[in-house]
């Protein structure tokens, strides 16, 4: 698979430790750093800006409560985006899958040969047909850039199991998108 590793510019573990102890400035530092990633993951799962915002805000409340229990401070980014993904799944569950996908009719320009690209509207259509769990898996991989080991650590299970699920999902997407 393509290397999706995102450069680590994360706040240090000292910041996480301070935030876990209730230091609001340190926590705000985490918000500044990780909110965009969480919002993108939640949006990828819900397809709706309002619902995604709701999910991420709920995720920050959970993070405030539970940060003290995070053992590996170096994994805070994966931990936060996983909470956002879980809250986004819960939002879909609460709304019974009735979330309205609000998608842009036009893709961003300047992405090279259009024939090489996947239209946003096609991706949105395919995502809409996926289970919330599968959407979360794809979002953690392709939006948050987590590898299978990180995803497994956050969601439970084995890295090989995550790889297998991802491979099946990607194959399904390839079939559906290449015929879109």
């Amino acid at each position: 698979m393509t290397d999706l590793t995102i450069p680590d510019t994360s706040p240090g573990t000292a910041t996480v430790r301070l935030a876990a102890a209730g230091d609001e400035r340190a926590f705000a530092h985490l918000v500044t750093e990780y909110h965009p990633s969480m919002a993108r993951v939640a949006y990828a799962i819900t397809g709706n800006a309002d619902t995604a915002a709701d999910a991420v805000q709920a995720a920050w409340v959970i993070a405030w409560r539970r940060l003290g229990g995070l053992r590996d401070h170096g994994s805070v980014r994966a931990w936060l985006v996983a909470i956002a993904a879980n809250e986004a799944r819960q939002q879909i569950r609460r709304q019974g899958g009735r979330v309205i996908l609000d998608i842009s009719a036009t893709d961003l320009p300047g992405r090279g040969d259009p024939a090489d690209g996947i239209a946003t509207i096609d991706l949105a259509r395919v995502i809409r047909g996926l289970k919330p769990d599968d959407r979360a898996l794809l979002a953690l991989r392709y939006v948050a850039g987590l590898d299978s080991t990180e995803i497994a650590a956050q969601l439970g299970g084995s890295a090989s199991g995550v790889r297998s699920r991802l491979a099946r999902l990607v194959e399904r997407l390839r079939l559906e998108l290449d015929h879109a």
């Binding site: 965009p36 919002a39 920050w60 409340v61 405030w64 899958g97 996947i118 949105a124």
Partner: protein
Amino acid sequence: MPDRPTFDARLADAFERYVHAAPVGVDAMAMTTAASVAALPRRSDWSSARLLLAAGLLLAGLIAASFVATGGHPLGLFTVTAPSPVTSPVHQTSPAPTLAGGAPAWEAIYVRTDPIDSASIDVVAVRPDGEERLLRRIGTAIKGSDLLLSPTSGRGSENGWLALGTTSFRDSFHGAWVLFDLAHPSRESRIVPSDGELTARWSSDGLFAVAGNPCCWKVEILDPRTGASTDLGKIGLFGGGPSIVWARDGSGILDFGRLMPAQGGKDIDVDPDLLFADRRVGAGFRAIDICSPDQTYNLCPSATEARVRVTNSKGTKTDWFVSRNPNEQPVGAIFANDGRSLLVTLDRVSGQRHTAVIGRMDNPGHFLQLGMFDLPPGAWGPELGQVDPSDSIYSLWYLEGSTDNPQSVMGPLLHADGTISPAPRGTFAGYVSGQLAESWPALGEFGPPQSASPQP
């Protein structure tokens, strides 16, 4: 000629474009403060936090300015041509019911797609006995706009206004609320642009509050009767946002555990007896936590049994319900209409079957069962939906399907007298007094639903 990108790379690229409309803007300090308030409801001196918020205000202003510059609308209020008029005939009527003893205390307002004309939305008033009156039929198209009215986002005020949200496929931030005066069908509707809006709520006396984004939690209050608007600035909304929680008397909105007066100005302490319109908030800013050791995020880390915990305005926690039976777990709780008692939902499991049990608790440890409903085979996850202002009608929801892809299903209505009736079709929008609703003109009347079949 360069190699064609791998599918993996194309997929990553497509996801990157797909999420470009994600709501990434945030005021970090405001989010931090709101998260801490939501996590532990308490009175605090927020003056230092507010000083820090000043920097956030400047940032939010810059974001807003850039948003407007790129085609967005600031929140505001103006009138437009009314949506398409009603043209199709009323398709079903039944004799008007005789209401013994006058109008009911409350009637529910529901909105739904018209079963014959899918380009129209029906607005109906539903009496407690299930009899329905069609109040309005509204075309979904809005002249001069690419927006369509949505039948799934109705919000009604107690004084008879209805706000309908919109859907748009242009972009995520593009939207509006359209406000209708149910008492006066000929009155021109009003459109409230809500690009990037997070939420909106009516006060009991008919003021419409909208929380905007990307100016996180900037709240504007609109009076549809006069067109007047009041900018309250940034507010620390309940739960870290985006919930707008009105005081039940319409005097203001929760702001960082204090009260922002509806007319603006400085926030004030929450009176210990003040009631709120949102049942998640009790008198004087009490809050409820459902603690479950089985959940990933147990809100009561030291507790080994599921419980319902209330935190008062001073931060004192009291366990109202502690589950001693692993087959009977609390799954939801809201405050009763007095803001102090609780309405608690239990999930009672016997073999593979789940039963929803709703009870009232006037004191910790005292659970009085109000009603119960056996979920259909294969269903689970009961939730309490709307409760009427008299605490006498409770709507139920539950889940069906596989656990990794559940579908939420609207169940029946449970009545305080022990009866069970089918839920009305459509989306619940709000309650109005029966006397007011009965005074409105109607296009036709309907009998109650004849079966208790669930609605997906």
